[in-house]
Symmetry: C2
Subunit: 336 residues, 2 copies
């Protein structure tokens, strides 16, 4: 090979190496949380991640222990005017009613079926549990998954007129990706039904089925005509809410999270379990303060009440995310 | 730079590249399952993995769906002369008895405490559940984890005189690693206690706490003096055995496995749930046939009975692993 060619090759390699180095530096400057305004909230998140990922630093956490848990309703997607799963259950009530004439004798379901909107909004926890038993049981797990998927494809939110899977919080999608890019495993820990969430959380949030923890009804394994089936029974198995969240986290993950994100009093114990511990920990509450772009609610809300936990945030130094101030956009479809 | 130096550098780079290529080819030939004899069993495993990982092939399975589940007792480690966790529970019974004089009025526990070995071996499922309630509850989850860890450090198997965490099956350790190297997620699905397994399964098997599914008792979240605690209650939560295994798999993983490994009738439903499905699936039973190096047992065994599932293996074309014929060594400490 000629001397001049080798010199050119060596120069080329050197140039390429320098170019790549500069490029990686530039990439390192790209904001991983572009939908978050430059407020102390964003700073707190980035600082926390920096501390637990700094190799050799005093707060370093091994990747295997970087567990972050997220509530779903009101933390990752809308929960007004009611929980999405409640809207689903009411649609199922209406769809299944022709086969269940006995339901017209049961309140508040009779009023709901007659179109009384106030009756739906006033349903308490007992009513909702009963509604779940009525509408979420009596089919196999595969059949239920299909019912959920079909409903989410056609159902539209009454205000925004979009599929519910579009009513997710863009800044939280970025936060999920940012944490995973830094070696975190992201879990959902929700009071909602685990089988209601699993058909879509991987595609929408990047959270795989085995990383979704939620409430559940009992299932029953049977071989039927040589085919193995899991059948959903009208029997409560587990409520993954309030004191149930640390229980569910311990049962499924078996490690304590180092970061937790919630939005209501249902997340108080998860936040306590996560943050009152040795080592650097992060707890955050998504506070709904934006009536224009989304909804403003807290202490008086029927769904997603935030009261005790908002006070506890002060003493525990949890980060309160102000949706109005901290978020450039709310939904992926919001104009920038 | 001198022309001669550049020529040498270029030659060096070329030589290095060729060397690395040859090395990687050589590495590709290294047997990932060195403790498995070259039998049809080994061939079946390797062929299955090849089919589901072949990009563009008809049986390709996306990595996210490559779920493999493993029973523990009798599949990954010894379960004779009794389940290791039963030996633990009996040691706990003896350690705690001074504080529980009432236990000396309860059979079979009175006989056990008086040293009656036969009484221990004859304990049925009801006795074992009661024993678990007595010895595994009444402390926090952290305290229980420490009790388990301490016990495993000092306890010795009566025959091999080693810590139980050394009485694991070397060929299965290699299988776990081999599957993970091929993009599988490996879960344990055991009738044993999930909190009995979690303190050590990551270190011994490479299976993280969130990938361990097992039986459990109820826990209770409480803030005590400002400290969040999870307290273990003498109340059964879930038995992850037989029909319970598909239920547990669905609850925690939310995906059907594509490969399952068991050793007894307690794994029948897990094997059915995994293999009777569209697509290429793999089911295997570890058959204890080696009385010299380990134990030989199946249809008559008190612990780990293999009877119905052994017959079902024929019709379902599950691979029956013959420990005597298929394994070069049993334990990591066996001479080669």
């Amino acid at each position: 090979m000629k001397c001049k060619s080798l010199s050119m090759i060596a120069g080329g390699i050197l140039g390429l190496a320098l170019g790549l180095t500069w490029s990686f530096s530039a990439l390192a400057q790209v904001d991983p949380l572009p939908s978050w305004n430059a407020t102390p909230t964003k700073q707190a998140i980035v600082e926390f991640v920096g501390r637990v990922t700094k190799v050799g630093g005093p707060d370093f956490v091994a990747p295997a222990e970087r567990i972050a848990t997220f509530d779903n309703d009101g933390t990752l997607w809308v929960e007004q005017p009611m929980y999405v799963q409640l809207a689903f259950a009411l649609d199922r009530l209406r769809a299944m009613a022709p086969l269940h004439p006995d339901w017209s004798y049961m309140e508040p379901f009779q009023s709901v079926l007659e179109g009384d909107v106030k009756a739906s909004a006033k349903m308490d926890e007992h009513d909702i549990v009963q509604l779940i038993m009525m509408t979420h049981a009596g089919m196999t797990t595969d059949e239920f998954s299909k019912i959920v998927t079909d409903w989410l494809t056609t159902a539209r939110d009454p205000r925004f007129k979009r599929p519910y899977t579009e009513l997710v919080y863009q800044p939280m999608l970025e936060l999920l990706s940012y944490l995973r890019a830094n070696g975190f495993k992201t879990f959902i820990v929700s009071g909602g039904g685990v089988e209601f969430m699993r058909p879509w959380t991987e595609k929408v949030y990047g959270v795989a089925p085995e990383q979704v923890i939620g409430s559940s009804i009992k299932t029953n394994f049977q071989m039927r005509d040589g085919i193995p089936t899991l059948f959903r029974l009208p029997d409560l198995n587990f409520i993954d809410d309030k004191v149930g969240k640390p229980v569910g986290i311990n049962e499924t993950i078996g490690r304590r999270p180092i970061a937790a994100f919630g939005n209501s009093d249902g997340d108080l114990e998860m936040l306590q379990w996560t943050t009152i511990s040795d080592g650097v920990r992060f707890g955050a509450i998504v506070h709904h303060t934006d009536a224009v772009r989304e909804y403003a609610y807290d202490r008086q809300s029927h769904f997603g009440r935030l009261d005790v936990a908002l006070d506890a945030a002060v003493a525990n130094r949890w980060t309160v995310i102000d949706m109005k101030k901290d978020w450039k956009v709310i939904f992926p479809f919001d104009p920038r």
